[in-house]
Every structure is written in structure tokens, then in C-alpha cells.
């Protein structure tokens, strides 16, 4: 599968995404410069982590207007696969390609830690290689990962299975302590209604090598590599 990794000014985990996809997994992955108009035949667009435009004003608020985002939106509208990790998730929310928004962690501080997330819906193109209830160990590293959305919308999202990942403890149980950033309903990752756009705060690209915190992140990328359903 061909992966296009968008590089915004202030993107930081773009190189890590390329490393995970190309060097570790042997996939074809290339950088899409934010000023480009085309996604150049990418079959999955990845919006990486970082502090695009310094995350000034609101995280992802300014990056959303980069030229490349027009074609990303179009690609998504046509059913193309788009994944946003951390800052990428924030950008997708700001661009209204995903519901909700991400705000200041309840600790009001940046949190860098390996956490556990439970796969709530393994039938999406992003989680297919896992099973419902699987617990993945992935790192989070963000200051604004507290997921919020209007209650009624949350209810619908749950019904439709759009809540794809939830923070849990190592044994897979929900607990307040496991929900470090204080996200509503411990939400760590969500998909759109069509299940072709996915955003998550944890970093799968930082969990692809045994010596660097395990390989659970591969599950996400392997799912996507199976292509759109």
C-alpha cells in the first residue's frame, strides 16, 4: 500500500511514521508537503503528530487550512483512508473530518507515558488485524488530548461503533487512573460515520520495534495495509 505522510510546518512525528512504515514494515511511504495540492496517488493519508504551526491558537486550528488539506478532505469524501495521530487527530477534528475536539489534559500538563487502550470496534479498516477487547500498549505524548463532544453526539457515536479505542488499565478494565488525560468516556480514538477516517491520541508509530516499547502499534498499520474494505 502507498502511504502519504503529510509534513506540516511543526510536524514532528512525520519522520517516525515514515520509519515505521517504510523501514520497519517495508511499505511504500512518502512525504506530502503541506503546500502541495495533490496527495500523489497515496492510498492512505497519514497526518502525523507534532505541533503544527506551534499549535498556536488551538491545536490543529491553523494546519487545517494548509493547501494539502483540501485534497485530503476530497480524498476522504471519496472514501479514501485517512489516519490522524495525535496532532493529526486534532487537525482532523478541527477540519470537521472527525467529530468532537481535543482540549487541555485534565492535569494541565504534557504527559509522555506508555498506556493501554482497548479495541472497542475491530471491524474498522484501522483495527481489523485486532479483535474486540484486545488491549494494546501504546505511548501517549501530548498536552491536549482530552476528548470532548456533545453528549447526544457521543451517544450516537457509541451506538454506531465510532468509539474505536478507549483508555483502560493493563488488564483491560476501565478506571479513572487509566484515563490519564481525562477524556470523556475515556475515548482514545474515534472514526467517522463512514469508518474511512480515524484519529487517535496514542502513537502506534512509536510501538513498532521490541527495543522501543513493543510492537502493538503494528496492529493498526497492518489493519490499514489490508486496504479499504
Amino acid at each position: 500500500m502507498k502511504w502519504g505522510v503529510v509534513r506540516f510546518p511543526g510536524s514532528l512525528d512525520d519522520g517516525d511514521a515514515i520509519w515505521a512504515l517504510a523501514d520497519v514494515m517495508g511499505q511504500e511511504a512518502f512525504i506530502l508537503w503541506h503546500k502541495e495540492e495533490s496527495i500523489r496517488g497515496a492510498e492512505c493519508v497519514l497526518l502525523p503528530g507534532g505541533f503544527s504551526y506551534g499549535d498556536y491558537l488551538r491545536t490543529g486550528a491553523i494546519a487545517r487550512f494548509s493547501p494539502i488539506m483540501k485534497s485530503v478532505a476530497k480524498f476522504a469524501a471519496d472514501g479514501g483512508l485517512v489516519i490522524g495521530i495525535c496532532n493529526g487527530f486534532q487537525i482532523l477534528c478541527e477540519a470537521h473530518l472527525l467529530p468532537g475536539a481535543l482540549t487541555r489534559n485534565r492535569t494541565l500538563s504534557f504527559i509522555c507515558e506508555r498506556v493501554h487502550v482497548r479495541v472497542e470496534n475491530a471491524s474498522t479498516p484501522f483495527t481489523r488485524a485486532a479483535h474486540n477487547g484486545d488491549v494494546l500498549r501504546l505511548p501517549i505524548k501530548h498536552g491536549e488530548g482530552l476528548y470532548v463532544a456533545p453528549e447526544d453526539e457521543l451517544r450516537q457515536m457509541e451506538e454506531r461503533g465510532q468509539v474505536v479505542l478507549r483508555y483502560v488499565d493493563a488488564s483491560g478494565r476501565e478506571s479513572d487512573d487509566a484515563n490519564l488525560n481525562g477524556s470523556t468516556r475515556a475515548i482514545a480514538g474515534v472514526a467517522n460515520e463512514r469508518f474511512n477516517v480515524f484519529g487517535l491520541m496514542p502513537h502506534p508509530e512509536h510501538a513498532v520495534e521490541p527495543m522501543l516499547g513493543g510492537t502493538d502499534g503494528l496492529k493498526i498499520f497492518q489493519s490499514i495495509a489490508q486496504g479499504p474494505r
Binding site: 491553523i62 468532537g100 489534559n105 494541565l108 482530552l146 470532548v148 456533545p150
Partner: protein, 81 residues
Amino acid sequence: MQVKVFVTPRKGILDPQGRAIEGSLASLGFKNASNVKVGRYITLEIAAASAQQARDEARRMCEQLLANPVIEDFRFEVEGE
């Protein structure tokens, strides 16, 4: 024209910052402070022919960039009104 924009957290949306400040205020002895909300205060100059035009521009700026409707409300004042 000078424009002042006030962006505030939507009702019902968590405002951890506001709660934290409330806590610190209490611990500083300001026990009688409550209902603290933290928002953004943005000031800018708009080169506009009329206050009306400035208002229209300001509104579009807020809708498109300065506020996120999912979590924030906005309000603005065009100076001299």
C-alpha cells in the same frame, strides 16, 4: 478599526483550566471566588470602510478560525460602538 474578540468555553464543556484556577485561588485564601471560566481575548486591527464591514469580517474570522464551535462560543466588539 479595533476589534476585541472574546472566546469562551461552551456550557457543559469541561474547563480543567478554570477548575484548576478555582482551586489555586481557594488555596491562596480567595475562598469566595467561584465559577471561574478561562477563555481567550484576542484584539486586532481591521482596516475597514465601515463598522458594519468590520463586524462582518470579524464574524467570519471567528467562525472560520478564532473559535471552535464544538467547544467554544465567541463574541466580539468593534471599537466605537
